[in-house]
Symmetry: C2
Subunit: 215 residues, 2 copies
Amino acid sequence: MNLYSFILRKGYTSLQNNKLDLQKNKSEKYNKILNSAGAVFAEYGFYKATIAQIAARAGVADGTLYLYFKNKDDILYQFISFKTDVVFKKMNAAVEKGQNAEDKLRNLIRCHLEEFQNDKNMAIIFRSEVRYLRDIEPQIKDISKMYLDLLSDIIEQGQTEGSMRQDLFVGLVKRFILGAVEGVIGTWVSADGRYDLVSMADPLVDLYLTGVRGE
Amino acid sequence: MNLYSFILRKGYTSLQNNKLDLQKNKSEKYNKILNSAGAVFAEYGFYKATIAQIAARAGVADGTLYLYFKNKDDILYQFISFKTDVVFKKMNAAVEKGQNAEDKLRNLIRCHLEEFQNDKNMAIIFRSEVRYLRDIEPQIKDISKMYLDLLSDIIEQGQTEGSMRQDLFVGLVKRFILGAVEGVIGTWVSADGRYDLVSMADPLVDLYLTGVRGE
DNA sequence: TTAGATAATGAATCTTTATTCATTTATCTT
DNA sequence: AAGATAAATGAATAAAGATTCATTATCTAA
């Protein structure tokens, strides 16, 4: 055993993370494993997925996974962390492009649907495995939480502008909005992604804004 | 080995189910196990929950579970089937009590929130384990599906009455409504059920009906 | 070109748990 | 109350699969 693998194997987390961070840029093997894991987790669920499946799909040996990840949990953790970062950056950018609250909301929802449509594995895993992830890694950057914060800002801006009602219970409204998008995404996933998810964005925002009631 | 346990053990499904149906009335042991399973599944998730934990909590031996259930999967299946039946009956009754579409929608949402508030374990399990359940038992009576059908009827009635817009995309609206309730329930669960969920019903329905936009 | 370092392999190990079933205990029947 | 019948027990089994690590392959720099 050499020093490097010693560091990798024993719990020297910070060193290990440094190493892995470097590898995120360098090693396409890291990425290959992560993608394979995404596919396998999405298809079988985290628990039914096996290391052997992930390794086979990535075209590496079982043991190789342990050079890049601490353990099975860590693979899920890295996957979700990475996706969360990417998606959340895009969502922020989308919101910033909007002028008023309605624009911002529309951009956010569209971006959300786009990103999930473009990465069905991620959509499935976010839907199904977040609970487990929070169990193993409570301080995970939680995309729902960040999302809800974005929504708070938008709603408050809307109220200031006068484009949204003053009597809204913001805490409820934001969950209402997030819940509805997630529901729509969940349905799309169940339908195996067979229709265009992004085209739901405008009708959905329309529902948020004006509701179901006739004029 | 006697005939009874022979029947129970080998895959004579229909006989077994008959037996179990009888026992649902007779045996409080069956119910005790099911409740314990609910608590343990809710706390640890289906996979991390062990037979030993469930048995201990029910105050019986591990082997006893196999007199009442085919296997671990079957426990989850029975739990969800039973709860689905109960809840869905109540939801139907609630809807029928309403006169017009708005009343019906309000009753449905209130009933939904009440039932889940009164049974947090069920709320957690429905949220987290339905995917797995569909994997193992695809023909499960799916509460979401039934719920969505209820909503379809309500929305169509609303359109007929003129209390709901004609231009609604019903397929979207119903997922929108269900998604939003589920989101609100999920938040309540995450907050460990510390506030009153049912009081969300009216504000929520108000959002469905009139949306977020100012007048 | 090759010695030393790094990376990858995959068979063997180790742990965890669901499930079984021989045995014991409780319940019923006459 | 004895003899069945049914129910319950929990230690032993067996399978699955995550993780390890001795071995092999690949790379790098002089």
